[in-house]
């Protein structure tokens, strides 16, 4: 049997994992499903592209690629800046909207508000950049043989490596640092965390910055491997939720494993059933987990 679908699934899973990490953190710390999270992926990709265009225009030459990848250090720097900007965007939306809903004690309406924000953010991208797809690089990459009949391009392997590094970094941040402990405390019980003197508002700010930045990296990875479109993030929203819930809300390793599970299930569906049903996979996984184990693989009982 050709195992290429496993490799394809791992790559899709790697692009999902960072986005799902952001979903799981905001879900756990802010206690609502943010339907605008997919849009942070799209905004991250478009901001990166705009910054790269600006830098390229100012320096008079497009950003150089770093062999064997199709992008170079210049674009990575733009992506880092775009990730920071996306984090700030998430923070601004929180200040303007979600924070006020929390203060008023009507956090339940936040889900609805986030759905409105998601539509508006996506439509704004369509108005600014039109709906036609864009690409970070026109370069065609040769897939390298990896053994067992599997192949992957250098870009795909690079995305997997970046995901592993960033996910490990976030897991360490949560496990070992003061900020991480505070985040876990807020996720566990916000009122109790407040009582022991944790700056809950600060933790929430960190959560948005981190979630937005990770989403942006995920969006750049997706844009690099597939294409950049205004609806790219919205189409990933269901897979992201599925990954976060399969892994267990609040668990970073869970989000990564969940991303891989969703990615491989999607690739297997494309291989054995038909590419047109790919988008239904997340829903089937989601319902399966909600029926059998609502806390997910690594989640704790609520």
């Amino acid at each position: 049997m050709n195992l290429q679908f496993l490799m394809d699934g791992l790559v899709v899973g790697a692009t999902l994992a960072l986005g799902a990490t952001g979903v799981t953190l905001t879900y756990a710390n802010l206690r609502f499903a943010n339907f605008a999270h997919g849009e942070f992926l799209s905004w991250g990709a478009y901001l990166t592209m705009t910054l790269a265009g600006l830098v390229g225009g100012l320096s008079g030459a497009p950003l150089a690629a770093q062999d064997p990848f199709s992008i170079g250090m210049g674009l990575l720097a733009c992506a880092l800046l775009a990730a920071a900007l996306t984090g700030v965007l998430a923070l601004l939306i929180d200040v303007a909207l979600f924070r006020r809903l929390r203060q008023r004690g009507t956090a339940v309406t936040a889900v609805m508000a986030s759905f409105g924000v998601s539509m508006a953010l996506r439509a704004l991208l369509e108005a600014l950049y039109s709906t036609s797809p864009r690409y970070f690089s026109e370069e065609l990459q040769i897939a390298l043989p990896l053994g067992a009949g599997m192949r992957a391009t250098p870009d795909q392997l690079g995305v997997c490596a970046v995901t592993v590094l960033l996910a490990a970094g976030v897991a360490l941040l949560l496990a070992r640092t003061a900020v991480g402990r505070q985040m876990r405390a807020v996720a566990e019980n916000p009122s109790l965390a407040q009582v022991v003197g944790i700056d809950v508002a600060g933790v929430i700010r960190t959560t948005w910055l981190l979630g937005g930045a990770l989403a942006a990296v995920s969006g750049v990875a997706l844009g690099l491997l597939v294409q950049v479109r205004p609806s790219m993030g919205a189409e990933l929203l269901l897979p992201l939720f599925a990954a976060a819930i399969v892994g267990g809300i609040g668990s970073v390793p869970g989000a990564v494993v969940g991303g891989l599970v969703v990615g491989i299930a999607e690739a297997a569906t494309v291989r054995f059933i038909g590419a047109e049903w790919r988008a239904a996979v997340s829903f089937v996984l989601l319902i399966g987990v909600l029926l059998l184990r609502p806390t997910g693989l690594f989640g704790r009982r609520a």
Binding site: R100, L101, M112, F115, E126, L286, L290
Partner: protein, 321 residues
């Protein structure tokens, strides 16, 4: 002169038809969210299922597609409600016992799956091309636009009024009181022996059935449906109507439906008049940004909408407000 007047009247009537149809879906959403506190982010999916169910049963037979039974309109409308209701029951049975935003995610997923089925099961749904030649109730009047629009408006207004009256009765009944009790304090309701799960499921199914009815009405008004008619923006518009009009108030819902539809039409006309053709797709996206802003600002500054829920207090108490 009289020609242009009848033209405007026909436009107003067909505008009213579309606004009321979305109003029916919004009445369903108000039962789910406004009265019972259940998130449904997949309104478009339930509307779509209703539209397809009725279209399949009422169209004439077509080579290569299932259905085409040529049944009367009434059968189609009832089947639309039953199908959308059954789908709601299935989704509700899985997710209603879990935390509330899992329902939101699951309904969002249902809308994605319904869209996939509509696009890919060509033998059932006609695929991306959709279903055409759906019987329109007043097709005999088709060459007289004003009479056609007026007759359609009368029919849809009658159905909307029936749905509104039914819901007002239900909301005022002991059943509606239990729904609000569960929404406000589930434990207190449970301590009085009310099964929250059962009541929630009933409200969710009835709301979903109304969305299916709205879909069928849309199919029979336009005479044509395709997956494009049931994009996520439908869900978004229906939610905007509910929030702007007044969550929990059925009259507010209908007012919101008229206002948001009017805003949608007026901005649509403005874009058609004010932008060159190649810019219109991008300008149209700004309409969604506008409605999104309207939704967010209403949630922030006027959370009760234009007509908020009337507080229902026992007549044996002194209501001082």
């Amino acid at each position: 002169m009289s020609g242009s007047w009848s033209g405007w009247l026909a436009y107003a009537a067909s505008f009213g038809v579309m606004a009321l149809i979305q109003g029916v879906a919004c009445l369903g959403l108000n039962l789910q969210w406004g009265q019972t506190g259940l998130f449904n982010v997949g309104v478009a999916g339930f509307v779509s299922v209703g539209a397809y169910a009725s279209a399949l049963l009422t169209t004439a037979a077509v080579e290569g597609r299932l259905g085409g039974c040529g049944l009367p309109l009434v059968v189609g409308l009832i089947a639309a409600m039953v199908t959308a209701g059954l789908l709601s029951a299935a989704v509700g049975a899985v997710t209603l016992r879990l935390r509330s935003d899992y329902l939101a995610i699951a309904t969002f997923g249902i809308a994605v799956v319904v869209d996939l089925v509509a696009r890919n099961l060509t033998w059932l749904t006609g695929g991306p091309l959709g279903i055409s030649f759906i019987p329109r109730p007043f097709a005999l009047l088709a060459d007289r636009p004003l009479a056609y629009a007026a007759a359609s408006f009368a029919l849809v207004a009658l159905i909307t009024f029936a749905a509104y009256t039914l819901l007002e009765r239900l909301v005022a009944s002991p059943w509606g009181r239990v729904l609000r009790a569960i929404r406000e304090d589930e434990r207190a309701a449970a301590s009085l022996g009310k099964s929250a799960a059962a009541y929630r499921l009933q409200a969710f199914v009835l709301g979903g059935a109304l969305m299916g009815l709205a879909g069928a009405l849309q199919a029979h008004t336009i005479g044509f449906i395709s997956p494009e008619n049931f994009a996520a923006s439908v869900t978004f518009q229906v939610w905007a109507m509910l929030v702007v009009g007044g969550t929990g108030n059925n009259r507010g819902v209908l007012l919101g439906a008229l206002l948001v539809s009017a805003l949608w039409s007026v901005t649509g006309l403005a874009i058609a008049a004010g932008f060159p053709p190649e810019q219109q797709a991008r300008a149209a996206a700004l309409r969604i940004v506008l409605i999104g802003l309207l939704l967010s600002l209403t949630i922030l500054w006027r959370p009760r909408g234009l007509m908020g829920e009337r507080t229902a207090v026992s007549r044996h108490l002194d209501a001082d407000d």
